[in-house]
């Protein structure tokens, strides 16, 4: 036989570490057929994994030039944006990546819920998934402070004030989080460490566990949990195709498109940097990033001590979904309309809160009429004569476009 480099390497390795059993196991598992109902929505998981890898990549590059101190952080981000070659693009991709990942994570969660993928025996996979959502939100929360501009600083001040209202442990919890009595240099140090090493370690372990469990169980069928899951021949007969190569090709195509979309956003709408953080001056209309708006708005309606417990409670309830709220054996969406309806309504309420959070303290013109939305999100019609005046100002997140 002709000498082939890859075969040679494999033979050399085989003597030192038996790869054959590993490859065999992987091949057997990856070529298992996937149920026929698996459509393009099921590529969201892989797309998420790919985008998280891109975040890791852009994040590492940013880390090289970023300086995590109150005195240097802002200037280092300016340096990245203006001086470092393609620095603006790397930062832009990292920023847009965070938004796209949150959107896709929520869509992925919705897909799993609709198709009953959280039911027995996949409750562990679901739990790990909810933990991953928390980790993703944690990334967004800690990363937000790092540019150390006014929006970053004051958004973090407001976001970290709320836990202090918890009785007994509240103030200490807050002080531990921010490393002192107010947001300052120690806060940046803590948030940076959480963002660049602790959460990535958690992310990698959880993603690994998540993938392991998924490969172990395979994609959930549409039949109920009281019936045995169809075997490989059954699935093939019903029209299912092996994961490798058919669905891997599909996932790859989806990943290409997603990265294309991310690059387009990053190229055409790079984020701005506001003014450097001034702990003595709070600018008008500080709001958190859009995925925290529902919690932010809720805090305006209910007492702080109640409002601050709702977001973790929502995550816990989500975790308990397969145990408390949806114990039926059915997986098919058509047989779970009540549960899906209730969850849809809950999602709509959360979405409405977020919308109110966005509209509050802004002036909007709709169908020729101008409305001033107050702090609770209630619209007030503005008389035509007053329209020329200054609207309440809001500066939400850092967004692309819109000068600070």
């Amino acid at each position: 036989m002709k000498w082939h480099p890859i075969t040679a390497v494999r033979e050399w390795l085989e003597v030192r570490f038996e790869l054959e059993p590993v490859f065999r196991l992987l091949r057997e598992n990856l070529t298992k057929p996937v149920p026929p109902h698996v459509n393009w929505l099921f590529t969201l998981g892989s797309v998420l994994a790919a985008l998280l890898a891109v975040q890791l990549f852009t994040g590492v590059l940013l880390m090289i030039s970023y300086k995590p101190s109150g005195q240097e952080a802002f200037q280092s981000v300016q340096h990245i944006t203006y001086d470092v070659p393609l620095g603006w693009l790397i930062r832009s991709a990292h920023n847009w990546g965070s938004h796209v990942i949150v959107v896709l994570a929520l869509l992925h969660l919705a897909r799993v819920v609709v198709y009953g993928g959280y039911k027995k025996p996949r409750e562990l996979t679901w739990g790990v998934g909810v933990a991953l959502l928390a980790v993703i939100l944690g990334f967004g929360f800690t990363g937000y402070l790092l540019p150390w501009d006014q929006v970053a600083y004051w958004g973090t001040v407001v976001a970290t004030e709320a836990p202090a209202s918890i009785p007994v442990v509240g103030p200490l919890t807050r002080e531990f989080m921010i490393g002192g009595t107010e947001v300052a240099d120690p806060t940046l140090g803590r948030f940076y460490v959480v963002h660049v090493i602790l959460l990535p370690l958690a992310l990698l372990s959880l993603v690994g566990l998540h993938l392991l469990l998924i490969r172990y169980h395979g994609i959930s069928p549409l039949s109920g949990t009281d019936q045995p899951e169809p075997g490989s021949e059954e699935i093939l007969r019903r029209g299912g195709r092996p994961f490798l190569p058919h669905h891997v090709l599909k996932d790859s195509a989806a990943i290409y498109v997603a990265i294309g979309a991310l690059m387009s956003l990053a190229l055409l709408a790079p984020p701005h940097l506001g003014e450097m953080a001034d702990p003595l001056v709070t600018p008008l209309g500080i709001k958190p990033e859009w995925y925290f708006l529902p919690a932010y708005q809720l805090l305006k309606y209910v007492p702080e001590v109640v409002g601050v417990q709702v977001p973790p409670l929502v995550l816990v309830l989500l975790l308990l979904l397969p145990f408390l709220f949806d114990r039926s054996p059915h997986r098919h969406p058509r047989r779970r309309l009540r549960v899906l309806g209730a969850l849809g309504a809950a999602a709509a309420v959360i979405g409405l809160l977020g919308l109110l959070g966005h509209l509050s303290d802004t002036r909007q013109t709709l169908l020729g009429k101008t409305y001033d939305f107050d702090v609770l999100g209630r619209p007030h019609l503005v008389e035509a004569a007053e329209v020329g005046g200054d609207p309440p100002q809001a500066e939400e997140g850092r967004g692309a476009g819109g000068s600070p």
Partner: protein
């Protein structure tokens, strides 16, 4: 020695090692005071703030050992108020047009004595004694 006893001691050794690491981390991470300056002089970004540069009906915020303080000039008098809004901690500012202390975050309003004129704040701002001196503005608790 009994196996269980040996195991117990091994377990305790392991746990106490972990505990040692945890304790060290806890001590390292224990939050200290931050942001407040050590003196009762009102400090701005680049040093002590001076009352001389404060115009009539103008306010300025600085740090002191009592936290962040808002100082407003009212004629010859200086008014001192706690500068952190009692709602969610944003820094308030003096608006000479409306003659109210205003918080930019959710619209809380206070008067010159720190009383709440409009929510969502519920607690009043602490009043502070501020006196203009040679080195700058000195901050102290009201009544002493």
């Amino acid at each position: 020695m009994r196996r269980r006893v040996v195991n117990a001691f091994l377990g305790m050794g392991f746990v106490s090692t972990l505990g040692g690491f945890a304790g060290a981390a806890l001590a390292y991470l224990w939050p200290g005071a931050s942001g407040a300056s050590g003196s009762n002089l009102l400090m701005g970004k680049d040093g002590p703030l001076s009352a001389a540069t404060l115009a009539q009906d103008e306010g300025v915020v600085g740090r002191s050992n009592l936290g962040k303080v808002l100082v407003i000039r009212r004629g010859e008098r200086l008014v001192g108020l706690q500068a952190t809004c009692t709602h969610l901690g944003c820094i308030v500012a003096w608006n000479s047009a409306t003659q109210q202390v205003e918080c930019p975050c959710h619209g809380a309003r206070y008067d010159l004595q720190g009383r709440v004129l409009r929510g969502p704040a519920r607690e009043p701002l602490a009043q502070l004694q501020v006196t203009a001196g040679d080195e700058g503005i000195r901050v102290g608790p009201l009544g002493g």
